[in-house]
């Protein structure tokens, strides 16, 4: 134990005295959290829209007003030229074009049915689908409004017979958005970003660590001492583990103070899981470090591993959207499980029972990675 502590203390001194590392550990996460949380959003609001109103009636203007007032669309241009609207779509000024035909109102009055067309720039994939569903909802509610305005005669005729609500089947649908009723992306992103930050910092620092000692020659001096491989790895891991936990705490505080992220579950549980998860992240770093010869190699391997881990973890894009085989692969990504757990605890208020499955996977992962790291580090050249 004394050996581990001695090594750990020296390691803390290395970190504390290296200003670049200190900045990296404490400033970078905060800045990143602030930038990332604002940047990492798929929120779709203010979709720039072009309106071609060929009808120019009170009804068509009403529809345009509904679009503008919905908060989902921003009408940036309006004309009656389809060519101009196409131009705007092509050069990227607008994402959607709404075209109202010239017989819009009259058709509604006569037959009760009228088409409008939207053209969506679907370059951006699923965002286009959401835009479409917003447009659909606006049209549905406007139709309902119009029913009473445009066809009063029909209403009147009907009122002689039993009221309309009687005869026609009617389903009353209510929609609840649990856990994130305001649909704020930050509630979703911040817990995930916290995970990615401690992962990046922890893994990068540890992966450089042994490689650097190899380059400096100080590792050889340690290798002629009777310290065991397990003690060595423990002594290296402990300081970074504590550091990363502190980082996690700082990040959580910033998330709470600045972004007011929800904290529905138990923070003690969250830190407990973080403690286990960090063993995985740091052991991966140490394993890489023992594997390579130079810091440069360590960096490349770490980057590669981290990129794969982060992008497959469901941090940015939901795991549910991935094809089956990628979902299976992502089970091997520790980041995925911790992202899932921290969202479950913070946003949904999950307890130990609800996170049991990913937690067990993390514990197994920790054991495997620690063993690998200890075995990869060899005090002797074969």
């Amino acid at each position: 134990m004394r050996r581990i502590l001695s090594l750990a203390r020296a390691e803390v001194l290395h970190v504390v005295r290296d200003h670049a590392t200190m900045a990296q550990v404490f400033m970078v996460p905060i800045i990143q959290l602030l930038v990332l949380s604002n940047a990492a959003t798929f929120a779709i609001r203010d979709t720039p829209a072009y309106v071609v109103d060929l009808d120019r009636t009170a009804t068509s203007r009403g529809l345009i007003r509904r679009f503008a007032a919905s908060g989902h669309f921003k009408i940036v241009e309006q004309s009656d030229s389809q060519a101009l609207s196409n131009e705007a779509l092509l050069d990227g000024r607008v994402t959607m074009v709404l075209t109202i035909p010239h017989d819009f109102e009259s058709s509604l009055v006569r037959t009760g049915v009228a088409p409008v067309q939207i053209v969506v720039n679907a370059e951006k994939g699923s965002a286009a689908g959401i835009v479409q569903s917003y447009a659909g909802r606006i049209l549905a509610s406007y139709s309902a409004e119009l029913t009473s305005v445009l066809r009063p005669s029909f209403r009147a005729a009907q009122s002689l017979s039993p009221p309309p609500s009687r005869g026609s089947p009617h389903i009353d649908v209510r929609v609840r958005s649990w856990y994130n009723p305001t649909l704020d992306y930050r509630d979703y992103m911040v817990p995930g970003i916290l995970v990615s930050l401690v992962t990046l910092i922890g893994t990068l620092l540890t992966s450089q660590n042994i490689a650097r000692e190899k380059e400096l020659g100080t590792l050889e001096q340690l290798n002629v001492t009777p310290i065991t491989r397990g003690q060595f790895i423990a002594g290296k891991l402990l300081p970074f583990w504590a550091l990363a936990l502190i980082d996690f705490g700082i990040g959580l505080t910033v998330g709470w103070l600045v972004f007011d992220i929800p904290m529905r579950g138990s923070l003690v549980l969250l830190f407990g899981v973080a403690a286990i998860y960090l063993v995985v992240a740091l052991a991966i770093g140490l394993w890489i470090s023992a594997l390579v010869e130079t810091q440069q190699q360590a960096m490349f391997v770490t980057f590669f591993v981290m990129m794969v881990y982060l992008l497959m973890s469901g941090l940015f894009t939901p795991v549910d959207s991935m094809p089956r085989w990628v979902q299976l692969l992502s089970e091997f990504t520790p980041v995925r499980h911790f992202v899932q757990i921290s969202r479950a605890i913070l946003v949904k208020g999950a307890g130990l029972a609800e996170i049991a499955r990913p937690l067990v996977i993390l514990v197994v992962y920790a054991a495997v990675m620690l063993t690998l790291a200890v075995r990869q580090y060899s005090k002797r050249t074969a």
């Binding site: 930038v35 994402t95 509630d187 959207s321 029972a353």
Partner: protein
């Protein structure tokens, strides 16, 4: 000139000898495109659905059948009480629940509003909205069919309906890969060009070999060209590989001119390389250079270029910041050429911005390089 050639040859040797790095340089893009092309998607499919139906009757069963028949949903749980949903949501077994009120069929028959509650896990807002949209469509279709059944003759068209005709342009099937692959190109080029140059120059500084080059008759710009050209070549090969993969594996269309795309790619590589030189001229150790390259180039490319996250969704200050991120312009150019098939007539502004950045950064980095070292 022959001195320059000698330097070029030396740099090519370095790259070739360091097999591990070369392997990373060549294979990383290939693997990344495959993996991320598949992994980075935002399509919402197979929503995990729970049904809460305390008193099943013929109407709820009919509606449940409709949910089961849709490709968008996968029924993962049927529970009797709403209280049991919380745990399912927290575990992630369920993303959305349809809750039927008792007496559903009865109320429909009597013309009273029959109540259905849709509860959605909106942790990820877009997935939540999309899932709600799917569920609403299923229920509304069912309702419309009921109305049609009941009022075959009388009073058709009692309600006003505006029919929506939708056209999806440029990516009609809304393939996520079409969206992400052009962005991925920018990302990979940044990693190779900026990161590699920054590291390789700083390494020469650390090992002291750069001093040997500086006391030689080579001029600073020649040293830079010598260091940078091989990486330019490697970067160019990666672009070709990525475009090839995009075509063969993901069927990403290339509607515009290949030549224009390659030329723009070259311009972007130049910008990234200059950034790499600038970083290396201001740092003294590989570790700092690496951090600088990561914070200065990789993260902005990933987050602020529109590669994954749409720029329109960001708050205004960040949107302004994205203007100085070179990748933002290249992502826009690459997407426009590949998906929209437009030419320089539409892209001259973006191209001009990139070219401007290239000039400024090249001058700045050459100057900074010679100031610091010569």
């Amino acid at each position: 000139m022959s001195a320059l050639l000698g330097l070029l040859r030396k740099e090519a040797y370095h790259i070739r000898r360091d097999r591990r790095t070369l392997a990373v340089l060549i294979f990383m893009p290939v693997v990344q495109v495959i993996l991320f092309g598949f992994a980075i998607r935002t399509d919402v499919e197979n929503v995990r659905l729970a049904i809460v139906d305390p008193a099943p009757d013929h109407a709820t069963l009919a509606l449940r059948n409709r949910f089961a028949a849709t490709d968008n949903f996968r029924l993962t749980a049927v529970v009797p009480r709403v209280e049991e949903l919380e745990g399912l949501f927290q575990r992630g077994t369920v993303q959305q629940a349809i809750v039927f009120a008792p007496g559903f069929a009865d109320r429909i028959a009597r013309g009273l509003p029959a109540r259905v509650l849709i509860i959605t896990d909106a942790t990820e807002p877009n997935t939540g909205s999309a899932a709600q949209g799917y569920a609403l469509t299923v229920i509304q279709t069912y309702e419309r069919d009921l109305i049609a059944q009941q009022k075959t003759a009388s009073a058709a068209g009692a309600n006003v309906r505006i029919v929506l005709a939708v056209r999806m342009r440029f990516n009609p099937t809304r393939e996520s890969s079409n969206l992400f692959v052009p962005g991925l190109m920018a990302f990979i080029l940044t990693v190779i060009s900026a990161l590699m140059t920054a590291i390789s120059l700083t390494r020469e500084k650390e090992t002291g070999t750069l001093e040997a080059l500086l006391v030689s008759p080579l001029k600073p710009w020649q040293i830079i060209v010598g260091k940078v050209l091989p990486y330019l070549a490697v970067g160019f090969v990666s672009v070709l590989l990525v475009i090839l993969e995009a075509r063969l594996i993901f069927d990403v269309p290339l509607r515009g001119s290949l030549f224009l795309l390659l030329a723009e790619g070259l311009l972007f590589i130049l910008v990234s390389l200059s950034l790499g030189i600038l970083i290396s001229s201001r740092t003294s150790s590989q570790r700092v250079a690496m951090m600088g390259a990561m914070i200065g180039t990789m993260l902005p490319t990933m987050l602020l270029s529109g590669f994954i996250f749409p720029i329109e969704s960001m708050p205004l200050p960040l949107q302004i910041v994205t203007n100085v991120v070179p990748a933002r312009w290249f992502v826009e150019i690459a997407r426009s050429i590949m998906l929209k098939g437009v030419g320089l007539a539409y892209l001259w502004q973006e191209t001009l911005v990139l070219a401007g950045m290239a000039v400024v950064l090249l001058v700045a980095s050459t100057r900074s390089f010679s100031e610091r070292l010569a």
